[in-house]
Symmetry: D2
Subunit: 136 residues, 4 copies
Amino acid sequence: MPLIRFGVSIDKELLVKFDRLIKDRKYTNRSEAFRDLIRQELIQEEWQGNHEIAGAVTLIYNHHKRELINKLMDIQHDFGQAIISSQHIHLDHNNCLEIIAVKGSPKEARRLADTLKSVKGVKHGTLSMSSAGKGI
Amino acid sequence: MPLIRFGVSIDKELLVKFDRLIKDRKYTNRSEAFRDLIRQELIQEEWQGNHEIAGAVTLIYNHHKRELINKLMDIQHDFGQAIISSQHIHLDHNNCLEIIAVKGSPKEARRLADTLKSVKGVKHGTLSMSSAGKGI
Amino acid sequence: MPLIRFGVSIDKELLVKFDRLIKDRKYTNRSEAFRDLIRQELIQEEWQGNHEIAGAVTLIYNHHKRELINKLMDIQHDFGQAIISSQHIHLDHNNCLEIIAVKGSPKEARRLADTLKSVKGVKHGTLSMSSAGKGI
Amino acid sequence: MPLIRFGVSIDKELLVKFDRLIKDRKYTNRSEAFRDLIRQELIQEEWQGNHEIAGAVTLIYNHHKRELINKLMDIQHDFGQAIISSQHIHLDHNNCLEIIAVKGSPKEARRLADTLKSVKGVKHGTLSMSSAGKGI
């Protein structure tokens, strides 16, 4: 695809901060960083609408809480359509990290993440909102 | 562990909003929601310091950009100690979702995420900051 | 489901060997071991026919062979329907273990495994033939 | 690495069969097929000795058997050193496919596979014996 070049005006103070950010995050130039900012916004939009999205739910829990695992498993099977697969890591004798790859409607993905996170015994949960890649 | 019960004062307006949030997120009561808020803060702390953390990096990219995959692979092998395993999903004929489970120092995890996200051709990247579970 | 009990005649020599195998493999009794033998046979049958099966392809390769990864990725996208997700482990600075979860027709799964294994640079490949679980 | 070329004598009948096998398995020439046979043998050797190996355990089970999941989880945490991560796929409302990536001593990997497979309720289990890649 052809690259289009155009000017951008930013006040100095903001640009200094932006350049520091760019350096911290290992970008090689401002354009690359801008492209990422735009894509980030597009993904935010995707998650507001009905487009197909992709993402990941991460959970930390203690697998010794017996009913917990069964509940998490049941919920995942109930949301079968939204889940592609999950990755399970035994962090130590007690703690598990579970990363669930999700795909589908943003609403369904959010509902899955909220339902899993609210299960008693889940120590921490996050939802990484990403894209199915077509619109960005 | 014994549950300790204590009072909390919150102005009405804020509480109404909090209760709405709790309902939206499927919590069964305020205490459960508060516990999660506290853990969330503790995890933020963990990511500021030198404690061992766990998390996930998600990447969306078009696998047809030939050099891209090799670069991503090289970076991951360079950060070998910080990576447990990764999960790869072929979203469609072009797009890949890669979810990398990470463990180690917050600084290293951030550096890995930033390095991967800045590779040209990566459409989107996120870093889910979670916990190794011991401190929460 | 009701358990049905019935007698089985086996010559002593064979039974001694079978009991040793049972003990080695941690079975608690002969019935459990027999059930597994029967399921094993049913799965063999599933892989001869057109039933939906599930399984895993494992690959060991050196990721420094540049074209290799691109080829493996292209093949996987071509067989998109048969692949659920894959798990990637960086064994050391050179070697990767990739485990691809497959589902679909036995013929397609075999073809995928053979195609991946025959790529120059793949050091070793296996196909674990398992079941989608419905018929066993 | 330099390729060394040498002659091999095989009776016709066996060669015909071998060539058919090579064709079925998509090899482009006999040398490539021979290299794989040799590596296959080396891996068999690795699994007889004390070298570090890598592999995968696949399990099929019905997640509705409540105690089953807890047992599988406990066993995996007990063998924590041998397990890198696991991949979980919800095949349908009842059946799960779990693929556990293992690394370590052959004896330990076998013991893990046997212990998991012998748990009541596990419908099928396989152990893919592969290599950590250094010796092949």
